[in-house]
Symmetry: C2
Subunit: 193 residues, 2 copies
DNA sequence: GTAAAGTTAGTTATCGTTCACTAACATCAT
DNA sequence: ATGATGTTAGTGAACGATAACTAACTTTAC
């Protein structure tokens, strides 16, 4: 399911770029059309309406993080798993900085119920995976056991989100992967047994 | 400077409520006017244009956090200072949940350069205060010295931001002050010497 | 030659904003 | 004290711009 034609993928990509660069207010059918050098109505040959483009963006992002999760599952040790998972995100963001903006899309898509529900499904999926992995780490005595997994997950996810946010607001100036590595090294010291 | 008439304060309050409940997309002159039962043009008797309303919201929020900072400075010990500072925020949010949404306004106001610059000034102000306080704590051997103050500040701020965001998305269902206390207790264990 | 993908030229709705005007109240010279 | 003058805060109607979207026609690729 959710197979997209190459033109649809192009539209999704350009839409993500617009949101990333200018915010949701600038995501108009006209602006999307402008970026692929066609007229507005041409877009409607590929998507029924604007809502379906937004849904497609979320669908695209969901499959991306599912790939990362599966890859990180192959690592040995839960600290390594989380490291691989976050590193994977950073690498994606470096390739396509715009995708990072979807992480904060709850605010962007808040005006619509269907969209915001879908967003929170994705964010929850993310956190559930982190919590599960931390719990494994606590049981395996890799991670300190005096703090519940839920709170550790908040510290990890919260820190990374803030880092990404600052990176975005800087205009993607510095090296996120490097900064992320530093942050992870410090987080690691804090949470390990 | 930045004195507002009672009618202006009313407009600012309703605007914050709209943003909080429905997002920035629903913040229209019509909706603001509707909430105070006047017509649209009446709003222009109190603000020159919509931008000035948005700026006034940020101005209001900035003075609010400055009050909290001064109050927390009176505490003894840097861990107590940070605790007072964050607790103050939570109490404000409980009284007026809508104000919490301003914390995440970078995404909301991203479409405008003047606004987003002002937002980041406020967020930076926040973080600089936390970093300064942590550095005092490291020097005074209250806080662990193996992790730079900057990273500790990211962990603290990132965690609290994530907690608040979840609280908002839950529809302000649970007790933020209580949850915040729990989170702080765990953060405290992690950062103390 | 036909189906997919594009165009031109519109529609309707809503946005922020301005217009001309008015009712209620305050100020002040006579 | 009172009539003239000015101010404040509101109104309904309309403005130009722009949004999402559509009908009808044309181009293009296989």
């Amino acid at each position: 399911m959710a197979e997209f034609t190459s033109r649809q993928k192009e539209i999704i990509g350009k839409a993500i770029n617009i949101i990333s660069e200018k915010g949701i207010q600038e995501l108009t059918m006209k602006n999307i059309a402008g970026r692929i050098n066609v007229t507005e109505p041409a877009i409607y040959r590929h998507f029924d309406n604007k809502m379906n483009i937004l849904l497609a963006i979320l669908e695209y992002y969901k499959t991306e993080i599912e790939i990362l999760r599966k890859k990180s599952e192959e690592e040995e040790g839960c600290l390594k798993k989380i490291e691989s998972y976050t590193e994977g995100h950073f690498k994606n963001f470096k390739k396509q900085p715009a995708v990072a903006s979807i992480l904060f899309a709850e605010e962007i898509f808040r005006s619509d119920k269907v969209l915001s529900k879908k967003i929170w499904e994705i964010i929850d999926l993310n956190q559930q995976y982190i919590i599960k992995t931390i719990e494994e780490g606590i049981a395996g005595k890799e991670i300190r056991n005096d703090i519940p997994a839920e709170y550790l997950s908040i510290m990890i996810m919260g820190s990374f989100r803030l880092l990404i946010r600052k990176w975005r607001s800087s205009g993607y100036k510095y090296d996120l992967a490097k900064e992320g590595k530093n942050l992870w090294a410090n987080l690691n010291m804090v949470i390990k047994k």
